[in-house]
């Protein structure tokens, strides 16, 4: 067979194969949100960034730090001097301070058993990236689901039908009824269930609900909107140079393509003399 043909086929296999093997790593398949900052021309939505900064400041900082960001940095996403000052003061800080949590590590350990991880790099530090963080924020039980589980457990044992129904709703493995029962028992015991967390239970109680924060720009305050905004903000916090990188990239790549086409033409010309 032809060297090149095989090389291409094999290289493609190499790129596709890992996903095949990794398909089974726990947690439901992540929701795929439409991020404005993906793709070659992707940019952060400035309004979403600003709202997200507010959610992060008012909600997440209650437990988490975003330590690589100082309040002052928020000016580069469009906050005014006065807004920065107000954000910092709301947390008892000034604009030169880092976005640290109000909660001490010791208190966090006592309340949750773990210190909540710093969120500065969160969207880069989990498989699934932004979609994972978005999934975590939106993956808790809805009211309807809580009610369904309450109803199912009001009589003694879970019927097969109920197990199927719960498994489908919560993205659990219906072929493993014992696991579904265990999940239901732990939910009843008050543990934090999340359909996207690998292992389903962890120490973070649902941090965000609809109307958690009041937006100045009048945007609706659904859970999805809040989550979308705060994840956009966290994606910026993880990679503040994203826009600079993408806009420099276009210039560099276009330049290189032009240069390489010319080099190819010269190469053909030089080699033509040989024949």
């Amino acid at each position: 067979m032809d060297f090149r043909k095989i090389a291409t086929i094999a290289a493609m296999l190499l790129l596709l194969a890992p996903q095949v093997g990794m398909a089974s790593s726990g947690g439901a398949p992540l929701p795929k949100a439409d991020w404005t900052f993906k793709g070659v021309f992707g940019r952060f939505d400035p309004a979403a960034l600003k709202r997200g900064a507010q959610v992060a400041n008012e909600v997440c900082l209650g437990c988490h730090a975003i330590k690589y960001i100082k309040y002052d940095h928020l000016r580069s996403i469009g906050l005014t001097e006065a807004e920065v000052k107000a954000f910092a003061e709301a947390q008892g800080k000034n604009k030169k301070d880092r976005m640290l949590s109000a909660m001490s590590d010791a208190d966090a350990k006592e309340s949750f058993g773990v210190v909540p991880p710093d969120l500065s790099l969160m969207t880069k530090a989990r498989k699934g990236y932004e979609n994972y963080t978005y999934g975590i924020l939106t993956g808790y039980l809805t009211e309807a689901e809580t009610e369904m589980i309450d109803n199912a457990t009001s009589d003694d044992a879970l019927s097969d039908e109920e197990i199927k129904q719960i498994a489908a709703k919560l993205h659990l493995d219906a072929h493993n009824p014992d696991y579904v029962r265990e999940v239901v028992r732990r939910i009843g015991a008050g543990d934090n269930f999340n359909r996207y967390f690998p292992g389903n239970f962890f120490a973070m109680p649902q941090p965000l609900t609809a109307d958690a924060v009041e937006y100045a720009d009048g945007t609706k305050t659904t859970l999805e909107q809040h989550s979308n905004d705060v994840v956009t903000f966290l994606a910026w916090a993880a990679e503040p140079s994203l826009e600079a990188r993408k806009s420099l990239g276009i210039k560099v790549i276009l330049y290189l393509i032009l240069l390489t086409v010319m080099l190819f033409a010269v190469k053909r010309r030089v080699w033509a003399k040989l024949h």
Binding site: L13, L14, S24, E239, R245, G249, T260
Partner: protein, 403 residues
């Protein structure tokens, strides 16, 4: 004026002669295909690695308490620091892509055979240095994968009889991977690329003594050569353009594609990640290591030996291959074996990426079985290549008399 100045220099040190005989007029076979571009591409990437590394080192702090933060400092505060780091991190990946193609080229066209044995061996030495350098570089950002990768790999040394455990403690500079380990890995990571550069120089020296092989694999008389300049200078520079387009597309548009998310979590000795994976370029060898698990207490040592041996065996290729013909283009059986070997290494890489206890086909086929079979085939390549050529089993096709 400049001409007489050059004459003045040449009388004292013959620079012009050297450039003429070794670069501009250096005779090169006229039939080299694009697979011969990958040597100059490797050199290009090496230079990029040394330059970006040098500037990273000006801002990086090799201290367990500071390393992770210093990399983020580079990413956020240093002017174009994000560019330096992404160039460097993705540069390692492209270095290995280029080198693997370069090595496979050598295997396919029989470039390891007389009179190029020493050239080939130097290449393997360079590859070992590269692996050491990349391994230690990956430890420097001090994320979870840095830490646990270092722990798993250095721990392998403990399998060495008698001195193993003491050796590991000595390498660590303590009883676990820690600050002293990071500090010395930084020093070595800074040093080794320059050693590597020296090895590349000797590699090229050997090349210029025996000259390039070519796709036909026969010795080329002078009349069938062309001067390196302008023919191969322009061809190589064109190749660099293509490489840069691909490489920089990753740097600018998917800079984290080859990096593990876990490495954005600071190293934590108290918390083992669910699934420790080495960098992609080590995966085939890692799979070979793990597939030797059926020898009881001897497994670990055997695994380490198999892993080291899987590369060291390349040293033997000049002796194993007894065919009267160099290039696999005229060797139908060898060619088939080669492609099986190539696909087998990809499978090994895939096995290495998956958890050791994974299965495929709904549990019917354990990953470890695939790994063992692929390891067997990997070594089988070298045995069979020897067998079909030593016993005249392969009947080569007719080789052209000239290129």
């Amino acid at each position: 004026m400049s001409k007489s100045l050059m004459e003045w220099v040449d009388e004292r040190i013959p620079v012009s002669d050297l450039i003429k005989s070794q670069a501009t007029e250096y005779p090169t076979p006229k039939n080299l295909n694009y697979w011969w571009n990958f040597g100059s591409l490797a050199l290009t990437v090496l230079i990029i690695m040394i330059l970006t590394g040098l500037f990273l080192a000006m801002h990086y702090k090799p201290d367990a308490a500071l390393a992770f933060d210093s990399v983020e400092h580079i990413m956020r505060d240093v002017n174009y620091g994000w560019l330096l780091r992404y160039l460097h991190a993705n540069g390692a990946t492209f270095f290995f892509i280029v080198i693997y193609i370069h090595i496979l080229r050598g295997m396919y066209y029989g470039s390891y055979r007389a009179p190029r044995e020493i050239l080939w061996w130097l290449g393997i030495v360079i590859f070992f240095l590269m692996m050491g350098t990349a391994f230690m570089g990956y430890v420097l950002p001090w994320g979870q994968m840095s830490y646990w990768g270092a722990a798993v790999i250095t721990n392998l040394m403990s399998a060495i009889p008698l001195v193993g455990p003491d050796l590991v403690t000595w390498i660590w500079g303590g009883f676990a991977v820690g600050d002293p380990t990071l500090n010395r890995f930084f020093v070595l990571h800074f040093l080794l690329p320059f050693v590597l550069f020296g090895a590349v120089f000797v590699h090229l020296w050997a090349l210029h003594a025996v000259h390039s092989n070519n796709p036909v694999g026969i010795d080329v008389p002078h009349k069938d050569t062309i001067p390196f300049h302008p023919y191969y200078t322009i061809k190589d520079v064109y190749g660099v353009g293509v490489l840069l387009i691909v490489y920089l597309s990753f740097v600018f548009y998917a800079p984290n594609f080859f990096l593990e998310p876990d490495n954005y979590i600071p190293a934590n000795p108290m918390q083992t990640p669910a699934h420790i994976v080495p960098e992609w370029y080590f995966l085939p060898f890692y799979a070979i290591l793990r597939s030797i698990d059926f020898l009881g207490s001897f497994s670990k040592l055997a695994g380490v030996l198999a892993m080291g041996g899987s590369i060291a065996i390349w040293f033997l290729l000049p002796f194993l291959d007894r065919s009267p013909v160099r290039s696999f283009r005229y060797r139908p059986l060898s060619r088939r074996l080669f492609w099986i070997f190539f696909i087998d290494t990809l499978i090994l890489g895939w096995v290495g990426y998956n958890p050791a206890d994974a299965t495929v086909l709904d549990g019917a086929l354990p990953m470890i079985t695939i790994g063992r079979t692929a390891t067997f085939i990997y070594f089988g390549y070298f045995v069979l290549l020897w067998a079909i050529t030593a016993f005249g089993i392969e009947k080569p096709n007719e080789v052209p008399k000239s290129i």
